[in-house]
């Protein structure tokens, strides 16, 4: 039996079970879903709704098959069952964008990308498009009305009829080509959270689509809502059928068995899902570090070797250790969160239920574009399966990684740990809905005696030390765009905490029995707009604040003008009306409060939360830049600060007295303070005039000055410390190339003022050794004039910023020179102190 068909069959059954009221327990039901190959065939009663319109049904079936065939081409497996979700089958957001382009061609009509993301099953797409196709253009975006007539099922009164009409099942049987379809789990990362939402692959069609998509984007309220707009209320609303599905999913929690209290001891055997994800992999390591537990990791893979390889690859990609020492404390379980019993054999399931004493659910599909239906299998049903496991066998606590997305309603007033969650009908994005549904379902599970901890991170920023970040996370894209374009949208708070903090606190909760069973906000200290602007200014990036709409339009325009493949996903998010609502709610939301978390952290003696400031973000930003997302200031940019330096002196052939005049007129510039502090390097341009080398002036093709290179360690044993090192590549008028290497040295001598100005130089032809040597000096009278008074700063900055830049440079450089000059004197002084008499030891035994 082809796997995809089976999955589709399972889904159909699962949905029927959800709505029907059989007396089976959840586990029985899930097991039935798992066991039943294609029970859809014996389920004709689901179809009666369609009896009326046979031609329409055939059309629909044909269209479904056609869509499925097209969609299959965008999948790694090459096939898609008509009632299988495109994303669950391994489709990525990029592939979805391409698919929409192809379908638009096929159907000859414009298709709303959000529509595909909301529910990407070919059968349901066909149904919706057929329905909307019959209506006049004016009502095209609201398929609710016509659908009610055309396919009479989805009426709110009876949740059961929200199901896709039974027609889907025969279509599934007839529409899928025979043959074996590879396992969906073999799909590339993308479907389930560990991998996250939008792969970064370049997407030409992603850039090409905006023309078609923008009209929809301009009307954010055009979210299809079969229930119709509610009179006078312009707030965005969830789709009726999604709400019905959510309610049905919540009801699943009622089937959980009643369970006893877990033994209140630190865990010894932990089941962890999502260990290949960004947070999950960090949490895995923190659990290992801070407990003595053995961790079982559920990994989506065909077998154990593949699972181990996948986990190792994930840990390495996040710069986490992956050694025999890590492997000896974990066991990988190949499985799939979305399947009944986690896709494990019955025996493994029961062993786990008996032996594991803590369940930590991190896995979730994180995709802001996909709809609830496409996310529920991972985010809601998966969480319920974990609850089932926690309640079966030995009672164990369930620690669920939720999200502050459960508050992500536009206009919510507070986000405390015990504050009411958002109104689910005002959550527009499927991701928000699925996180809300999972947490609410698990709250119901608490009534069955299950100890459920909800841990809600906000944005999860990159690691403060390793810089590892989640390339698929929205915040990575936003930070990159801020730095690239030097603009930020006006937001109220950023509830972002670095991943090391989030995972450390989560691990502390898992390991502390007295902390179990409550809700925690792992949001750290929220940053205000002012904080962020100041942080970026400190890093030498002066940003301008824009209104959200202005920023979005501006950023989209810039991303189109100079496309950055790594940021294509940000463009897609900014064009999706649904995702925009999510962004808007996030940006206008209040600061998350973390009173309980802070109290716990304090009681456990962990360091208190610190704001995720520019220092903490530095490594992440460097890695973002190295990976092509962000961009560091570069020497080709307009410099941030620059000044002139003139030197005069003489050189001569090596070994001979320096008698020929030589002068340099250089411009020293900085692209940013970052360059100075991190690389200790200054860019150089200008001319060297040295008749002994070449009669004409030599132009600096490339030049650098390093301040106190290698901490000023002398070339040779001695007290001649290096203050500055100049390295210039020169070209003469005839095209010859030369190098110039110069050093300013600090010595324990009284001519300190001259030491700061005298440059010992060597000049040679490129690739050869030095042929000239000598010394050039900055004349004392030009030093202050050029290098202090003559400092110029990027005129685009405000006056205050310019003054700050100049002062920062002078303070930094002055301190460095002071330290460099003091070095040899300190060593000489130490030699003097060493002459002091060394007394015989006065103390023996106390």
């Amino acid at each position: 039996m082809p796997e995809t068909n089976e999955a589709a069959g399972q889904r159909a059954v699962a949905e029927q079970i959800e709505h029907g009221g059989t007396g089976l327990g959840l586990n029985d039901l899930l097991a039935k879903v798992g066991a039943a190959g294609t029970p859809t065939g014996q389920d004709p009663p689901a179809a009666p709704a369609d009896t009326g319109d046979a031609p329409a049904e055939r059309d629909e079936a044909a269209l479904t098959a056609e869509i499925a065939a097209v969609a299959g081409r965008h999948l790694p497996s090459g096939r898609l069952a008509p009632d299988a979700d495109f994303f669950d089958a391994g489709g990525t957001s990029v592939a979805a964008v391409e698919l929409v382009a192809e379908l638009e061609e096929l159907l000859g009509r414009e298709i709303d990308l959000d529509e595909v993301f909301a529910d990407a099953r070919p059968a349901s797409l066909a149904r919706r498009w057929l329905a909307s196709g019959h209506v006049p253009p004016t009502g095209a975006t609201v398929p609710g009305g016509p659908r009610a007539a055309d396919a009479p099922a989805p009426v709110a009164a009876d949740p059961a009829t929200v199901l896709p009409p039974g027609a889907a099942a025969p279509a599934a049987a007839g529409g899928t080509p025979p043959g074996n379809t590879p396992l969906p789990p073999a799909s590339p990362p993308g479907a389930v959270a560990p991998a996250g939402p939008v792969p970064l692959a370049a997407s030409p069609s992603g850039a090409a689509r905006p023309a078609a998509l923008l009209p929809h984007a301009a009307a954010p309220l055009a979210v299809p809502g079969p229930a119709g707009p509610i009179g006078g209320d312009l707030a965005p609303r969830a789709r009726r059928e999604d709400l019905d599905q959510i309610l049905a999913d919540l009801a699943l929690a009622d089937r959980l068995p009643f369970t006893d209290l877990p033994e209140p001891v630190p865990p010894r055997r932990i089941l962890l899902t999502g260990a290949t994800g960004f947070l999950g992999s960090h949490l895995l390591l923190d659990l290992l570090r801070h407990s003595d537990a053995h961790v079982y990791c559920l990994v989506r893979a065909a077998d154990e070797d593949a699972a181990l390889a996948r986990l190792g690859e994930a840990l390495r990609s996040y710069r986490l250790p992956w050694s025999s020492e890590v492997r000896r404390r974990i066991t990988v379980l190949p499985g799939d969160l979305r399947h009944p019993r986690l896709g494990l054999s019955e025996e493994t399931w029961h062993t786990l239920a008996r032996e594991v004493d803590s369940v930590v659910g991190v896995a979730a599909a994180v995709d802001f574009l996909r709809g609830y239906r496409s996310l529920r299998a991972s985010n809601v049903l998966g969480a319920l399966t974990l609850a089932e496991l926690a309640a079966t066998g030995r009672p164990k606590p369930l620690h669920h990684i939720s999200s502050v997305a459960v508050f992500n309603e536009v206009g919510i007033t507070s986000m405390g740990e015990d504050d009411p969650l958002a109104h689910v009908d005002r959550l527009v994005s499927g991701y928000d809905q699925s996180k809300w549904a999972a947490e609410t379902a698990l709250r119901r599970a608490r009534d069955h005696g299950l100890v459920v901890t909800a841990l809600r991170p906000g944005g999860i920023g990159g690691h403060t030390t390793t810089g590892a970040y989640n390339p698929l996370d929205l915040s990575s894209g936003l930070i990159s765009a801020f730095g690239r374009h030097r603009t930020v949208p006006a937001f109220r708070y950023l509830n972002v905490a670095p991943v090391d903090r989030v995972s450390r606190v989560a691990a502390a909760v898992v390991c502390e029995p007295d902390a179990w069973g409550f809700d925690y906000h792992l949001t750290g200290v929220p940053s205000t707009l002012d904080d962020v602007v100041r942080d970026m200014a400190l890093g030498g990036m002066h940003v301008r604040v824009q209104d959200w709409d202005e920023w979005r339009a501006d950023t989209l325009a810039r991303l189109e003008a100079e496309p950055v493949p790594e940021l294509a996903f940000l463009g897609r998010v900014l064009r999706s009306p649904t995702a925009l609502k999510l962004c808007e709610a996030t940006l206008t939301g209040p600061a998350a409060e973390d009173t309980r978390t802070a109290a716990l952290v304090d009681a456990l003696g962990l360091p208190p939360a610190a704001r995720y400031d520019s220092r903490a973000q530095l490594r992440t930003y460097q890695k973002l830049a190295a990976d092509g997302l962000a961009r560091l200031p570069h020497r080709d940019d307009r410099p941030y600060l620059w000044f002139d330096e003139r030197t005069e002196g003489s050189v001569g052939p090596v070994g001979a007295p320096a008698s020929e005049p030589c002068s340099m007129a250089l411009t020293l510039s900085l692209a940013s303070m970052y360059q100075l502090v991190e690389e200790r390097r200054i860019d150089v341009a200008g001319e060297v005039t040295c008749p002994a080398v070449h009669p004409g002036p030599l132009t600096v093709a490339h030049g650098d000055v390093w301040v106190r290179p290698d901490e000023g360690i002398p070339h040779q044993h001695g007290l001649r410390h290096r203050l500055l090192r100049y390295r210039l590549e020169l070209t003469d008028l005839d095209g010859g190339t030369w190098w110039l290497e110069g050093h300013k040295y600090a010595r324990a001598r009284r001519d300190v003022w001259r030491q700061t100005r005298a440059l010992t130089v060597e000049i040679g032809r490129a690739g050869e050794s030095a042929s000239f040597a000598g010394e050039v000096v900055v004349p004392a009278d030009t030093y202050v004039r050029d290098q202090i008074d003559g400092i110029r700063v990027d005129p685009r900055l405000t006056g205050r910023e310019r003054r700050a830049a100049k002062l920062t440079w002078l303070a930094w450089f002055g301190l460095e020179m002071g330290r460099g000059l003091a070095g040899p004197f300190a060593r000489a002084a130490a030699d003097l102190l060493d002459l002091r008499r060394t007394p015989a030891p006065t103390e023996r035994h106390r």
Binding site: S323, H717, P839, R846
Partner: protein, 379 residues
């Protein structure tokens, strides 16, 4: 007067040693005693050292020499309360050898013995241990894993050519280019100069000196701004023997390790400061003895002689190293510029300080993997 500086009880006089010589106190470990072989090693200048071989049960394994830091001892690789480096090496097919060089707290020299400088360690102790191990293991490869001053002195031995032919060296914390924070260096000098006529070592265990002693002001100074009330932890974690640096990330130590820090780290001698200061101000390992020809085998400046290093080197450092800062990164950079032919790699361990790279409860997860990878690549 409640506080009287004159003692009410006279300190017990030390027993004059007429027949016994200093011997290392017993190791604290959880290995089978029959597997631990203590070798009475004497350096070429007659100083008694400690050398320990842990018998892996089979022959033919590559040997790994572990060098502790100053005032620590071989115990730092044998912590019974956590997964320690010796456990890991035994499991991965190596034969661990542990040297207690003369700066070990298992030996009495830091507190009462005769004085020494790091020159003595580089010239006598390390070569003596290496040649003894070589006699025993024949031509099997010999690696060295060294921490802090153990690594610094090893670099001096290596550049002097006294320990040729090592299969690989893992250096933690500091190697050829020691660098202290300016503040640490200044406090070290000021405190050292003020105290040198009064005391000759700084104890770390309050219980050995009592509440009211001439060390009390030092402990009081170390407790300023400290989060942890344990005086031993304060003088190490918060102050690094009064210099104001921090030796480890507090959170990384297991509670049991934290409570026995005084066993793991002994008193620090003050008379070593001049050599340490000379090294630190030069940002290079330099020889102390200029005119003493017994030491002429050592280079005056180890960095200038770095060309004699004939083995791959892995430089490890915790990202939060509060004592030696980014010395290892500096060393990598300097050697890359000056000796590009050397096989030197640098690995930073995120979230770790100095001592916790070996004492930390998660060291096996975060640190030893890098060591094993390196040893595995060169065995």
């Amino acid at each position: 007067m409640i506080f009287r500086t004159t003692r009410t009880t006279r300190p017990r006089p030390a027993l004059r040693r007429v027949r016994t010589t200093p011997t290392p106190r017993p190791l604290r470990h959880r290995l089978d005693a029959s597997r631990v072989e203590e070798i009475p090693l004497h350096a070429a200048d007659g100083v008694r050292l400690g050398l320990t071989r842990v018998d892996p049960g089979d022959r033919g394994r590559p040997a790994v020499l572990l060098l502790h830091g100053h005032t620590a001892s071989a115990d730092m690789f044998l912590l019974p309360e956590t997964r320690n480096l010796v456990d890991v090496l035994l499991d991965e097919g190596y034969e661990p050898w542990l040297l207690d060089w003369r700066g070990s707290c298992r030996l009495p020299y830091n507190e009462t013995g005769r004085r020494y400088t790091y020159d003595d360690v580089a010239l006598y102790d390390i070569p003596a241990a290496v040649s003894h191990i070589r006699e025993r293991i024949g031509d099997r490869p010999l690696f060295a894993v060294a921490h802090c001053i153990g690594s610094l002195t090893l670099s001096l031995s290596m550049t002097a050519g006294l320990v040729p032919g090592l299969a690989g060296v893992v250096s933690q914390g500091v190697f050829l280019t020691p660098k202290l924070a300016g503040r640490t260096s200044l406090r070290m000098t000021v405190a050292g100069e003020l105290l040198r006529t009064r005391i000759d070592h700084i104890p770390v265990d309050f219980r050995t000196v009592g509440l009211w002693s001439k060390y009390t002001p030092l402990f009081a100074l170390a407790s300023r701004g400290a989060d942890c009330p344990d005086p031993t932890c304060q003088i190490l974690h918060n102050s690094a023997w009064g210099t104001g640096a921090s030796l480890f990330v507090h959170e990384n130590l297991a509670e049991a390790t934290h409570d026995r820090l005084a066993q793991l780290l002994g008193p620090a001698p003050l008379w070593i400061l001049p050599h340490l200061r000379r090294i630190e101000l030069a940002r290079t390992v330099v020889r102390w003895h200029d005119g003493d020809h017994r030491y002429r085998a050592l280079p005056a400046n180890a960095l200038d002689a770095a060309g004699r290093i004939d083995t791959p080197v892995l430089l490890l450092a915790g990202s939060e190293n509060g004592l030696w800062l980014d010395s290892q990164k500096l060393c990598r950079d300097v050697l890359a510029h000056r000796r590009p032919e050397l096989d030197v790699t640098y690995t930073e361990i995120p979230g770790y300080g100095h001592l916790d790279t070996f004492l930390g409860r998660g060291a096996a997860l975060d640190v030893y993997g890098h060591i094993l990878d390196f040893l595995g690549a060169h065995r």
